[in-house]
Symmetry: C2
Subunit: 130 residues, 2 copies
């Protein structure tokens, strides 16, 4: 009655995601893992990312430039997404759970998690633009 069997590749995906401060896409992870697992298929990466997200071990940052991006850091924090280069930066959150509570009170639903994201231009892209 094993529900989720241990998988070397899934663990490698999770480890890589946790060891890195950027917020990779499935394709980035696949390319990166290909050196250790030459027969890793992109489909396997997608399937395991979805499963890891369902288990709450990773978090989706949302779709940026057509690609879904993931974060191995599940502690609550905000994100800053550059509209030009797609870079994602972690930003600490000060506020407590007030939005979480407001939403549940106002909608009668159950909130699983809250994502706070700022969109704009990162310092790098501001320089290039200037």
């Amino acid at each position: 009655m094993a529900i989720a069997r241990r998988s070397v590749k899934r663990e490698a995906i999770l480890a890589l995601l946790r060891s890195v401060t950027c917020h990779p896409s499935a394709e980035w992870l696949h390319a990166r893992l290909l050196t250790d697992f030459p027969d890793l298929s992109l489909g396997t990466v997608y399937r395991n990312l979805r499963q890891l997200a369902e288990e709450g071990l990773i978090v989706s940052v949302g779709v940026i430039g057509g690609q879904e991006r993931f974060d191995g850091n599940t502690a609550p924090h905000g994100h800053f997404v550059c509209r030009r280069c797609g870079a994602v930066t972690d930003v600490p959150l000060k506020g407590g759970r007030s939005f979480h509570r407001d939403v549940e009170r106002l909608t009668g639903g159950r909130v699983q998690d809250v994502e706070t994201t700022a969109y704009g231009l990162c310092a790098n892209c501001l320089d290039i633009r200037a």
Copy 2:
């Protein structure tokens, strides 16, 4: 040297988006507008949505269930997205611009807008699940 010529169809897309409290996808808008504009093509809806978003007249709520969703209400407010049925609900935001300021201070970038979104199960889907 006219930069953006007036377009009946773009105005209809904007008007529909503003008249409605849900957060439609391009396909939803297209289906809805087809009664008034039988020759409206889906590509036209996509092109005009992108243009309206660039002009800041509408806002993208992000990709939900594989489809980008839009909001005609550009006043700052949060969203609650049901992971099961994809419904999007507006939720007022209490906090000020503190996150906005934090991001700019910490990253040196320029923030264009901040999106606060809660994910979970709406009241309806909670009932069905029960």
